[in-house]
Symmetry: C2
Subunit: 486 residues, 2 copies
């Protein structure tokens, strides 16, 4: 993030203010389309000229209005506009801000913006960005343009870009930037202060300077506040903190986010295996990561792979939503075949057909509750075998008690509806057994995924629902066949 | 957060390191229980004395080990231990750290720790905390103790505490702290530097000082980096930023979190309606809020009201999980009664019983996908009527296309299974119609909640599933009755 707009942004901290700006912009655009229409229909050269001027003035005013905005707000506005208006506004965004805005918009909108840019505009946008920001955009740029950007970079930058691109999205290597201010341990603070006063600006989120020795190994940090508060005659090493959190580029981004949260960090050093300082992670990169991870989690819960905005083409949406529907088609078919096994029982006692979805559905609830509690527990720590045994015992006991409560209630309701005591006992038993099944697999699925080193949450809900559906139908209809059929 | 451990924490930035510490601690405790056993069984006074000393030394070593840890890590360790070991460790935590640890642990664990503390220990813990931190703990402290804390506070602190307690959890008033460093606009930077050098420390997350005039109205901020980089002869107002994000105590915490994210803030001023500076919000409070909001969202998706850890008593877990099961019992019963309406049809054609859960289940998927996309859209902005019309049209068109694809596929599968072309047409039609129902209510539910000013996500999933279940059964069995029965 460059510094240009960070200190004095035209701000819109409330959704209502942003909505008002969007309304303004759209009104200005609507008025201008009207003028455009007048220009086209104008018979009279003089009138046409006047209207052309008005039109141009309007566009200039609009461009000025946009230029005052923070790039993050411009991004939000572009996301909120239908494609034609979005493109009109995008053409008015000042070239200096193009890069920043591209960084901030969602993937879907970025694609639409890039599609409207030519090679030169992309090169200009790339020029305004830092290496770590370029690395974030690189996958979306045409390979040819990226190659050109690459060749224009100074050698050091080029190596950094190659470095940043070599780490996957969920690692510290992808999160870090290279905006380091380093000082030596043996110089006096007064010298550091003089050195700083010669600088024009410090990188954003600089709460500390990094202390290194001659071979750039990392030895500690000195907080800006200590530069301000300490006696200027002290040496840096006398005012610095030695034991600080440090990360390696191959560390998991999520672990790093947890550490930022636990230790209330604003920035932290990234070192290589020889403890050489190579970059830093800042809280804003961490917050962005947390938001993206949350968004991805939400989407993946309903099997969506990418965000869609409401202006995205229908075909893309249909494709985006298909994989989950396909998976569920398969699991639903399995459940359906399980029911098909018992068609004789259902023919004899049609009440079974009405009751069986209750057994399946409530089992699914129990399983999803168990998974949610365990995934939450796994977010903070790894479970050892003793913990896992405890989990099984606890969840199974809860399921047993809940099975008696809700199974009992459903048995009673069944009796009131159908006046069949054998059927109501089967119902109560099936609910209890399916609750136990749900609890058992509700522990087994996330714990197994953890042991395999996978994300314990991913796909767990779909899997548990498939098990409690098919399992619930099988248990209920099976018990009914054994105890009620003759 | 006090500063004491922030600069030089004994850190455990990776889960594996924390796990190792927990293992160490548990081993030390196990060894000590062994020694304790020896003391009890000792026949010989001399032996007993020796073993008592060993026991005591062990406890001291353990206490030292714990004292070196960051309070957030002590909190994680306490959460990972079963109740008896947790209490043993808690009694070893240094009194100075009690308050910080209480702030960091989960609600459930905090209850168990407070239950083991007497009045005096609680008062001591309260003494180590800032007003805004006290406000966070206040609801969990016994009223009597809180009253006593209150009376011991200086008048200004007391008013702040009352202030912080008067704002609900999801507002800026509850997020803010009072650790402000203020300066006047007309003094020279050199004077500010001298003033700072007389201070012992600055509050954590001080990236800027707040500039106020005589009646403490807020006029701007000056960044620490500008204090370091600017000419010391300049006046503060010449180096300060005037237009900065500011919040009011009644603002929504979530809106504030969005603004921190968009504008990459570290701290921001909170002002009252007369623009008087009353406090600040820092990024660590925002990150904590984001984490808690995410946790709450996850729990509420499966109808859980509070977190449970794996050592929580069973009875509490059973109670915690009941409301959702109760709600689902009702929705499942409704769906069951819908099926009951068509028992004649099922008796005639038992294949209907096997096929109906597919119609209901896949409709639920479509509805949940629609809701997820819309909730995501609503997180960033408010939708106007034009947007909402666009949403309905888009989602219904996607549902129609998906209905044709998946309805068609299911129609075909039905024909292959049952060789009944009328049944397979009914299946295809029912799937398509239920997809359209799901899309319609998938837009209507969150949009209506938004218009009523509620959280669009809360409970939406339960509601849409209830609709697509009962609706799916009704559509499928209804079509079957009309077209297949005679």
């Amino acid at each position: 993030m460059t510094n240009q707009h960070a200190t004095e942004p035209k701000i819109a901290e409330k959704p209502a203010e942003l909505a008002a700006i969007i309304r303004d912009i759209r009104e200005m655009m609507a008025r201008n389309r009207l003028v455009e229409g007048l220009v086209d229909r104008s018979q009279d050269a003089h009138h046409e000229l006047v209207e052309r001027i008005v039109h141009k003035q309007n566009l200039t005013r609009l461009a000025q209005k946009i230029e005052q905005l923070h790039p993050a707000d411009i991004a939000l506005i572009l996301e909120a506009l239908p494609v034609d208006e979005r493109m009109a506004i995008w053409s008015l965004v000042h070239a200096d801000q193009d890069g920043e805005v591209l960084l901030e918009v969602s993937d879907a909108v970025r694609m639409s913006l890039l599609a409207a840019m030519d090679r030169e505009e992309m090169l200009n946008a790339a020029n305004t960005l830092d290496t770590d920001e370029l690395a974030d955009l690189a996958p979306d740029f045409p390979a040819q343009v990226m190659q050109e950007v690459f060749t224009t970079l100074p050698l050091a930058e080029r190596e950094r870009l190659r470095f940043a691109l070599s780490y996957p999205e969920d690692t510290v290597g992808a999160l870090m930037d290279f905006d380091l201010v380093t000082v030596r341990a043996d110089v006096r603070i007064e010298v550091v202060l003089r050195y700083l006063r010669r600088m024009e600006d410090l990188p954003d989120h600089t709460d500390k300077l990094f202390v290194v020795n001659r071979d750039s190994s990392f030895v500690g940090v000195i907080y800006l506040k200590n530069l301000l508060l300490s006696d200027p005659d002290l040496a840096v090493h006398q005012a610095m903190a030695k034991e600080v959190v440090r990360f390696h580029p191959e560390d998991k981004a999520r672990t790093t986010a947890d550490a930022f949260e636990r230790y209330d960090l604003v920035s932290a050093p990234v070192v290589d295996e020889h403890n050489r300082l190579i970059g830093r992670v800042t809280i804003n990169a961490v917050v962005d990561f947390i938001r993206e991870a949350r968004d991805e989690e939400r989407l993946s819960q309903v099997g969506l792979r990418e965000e869609e905005d409401i202006f995205a083409p229908i075909a893309r949406s249909v494709k985006n939503r298909s994989p989950w529907l396909a998976v569920n088609l398969v699991t639903a078919l399995v459940a359906s075949r399980v029911i098909g096994l018992f068609d004789g029982a259902i023919e004899q006692l049609v009440a079974l057909a009405a009751l069986m979805p209750i057994v399946a559905g409530m089992g699914g609830n129990v399983g999803n509750q168990t998974i949610t509690m365990i995934v939450r527990e796994l977010a903070f720590r790894t479970l050892d075998n003793r913990d896992i045994r405890l989990l099984y015992s606890k969840e199974l006991r809860i399921a047993l008690i809940n099975g008696m409560i809700w199974g009992g209630a459903l048995g009673l309701i069944t009796f009131l509806l159908y006046h069949d005591s054998a059927l109501s006992l089967v119902m109560a038993g099936a609910v209890s057994l399916n609750f136990l099944t749900a609890a058992f697999f509700g522990v087994t699925i996330p714990v197994t995924r953890m042991k395999l080193g996978r994300d314990p949450a991913l796909g767990s809900s779909v899997l548990i629902t498939a098990i409690t559906d098919s399992g619930g139908f099988f248990i209920f209809l099976g018990l009914a066949t054994v105890f009620l059929m003759n």
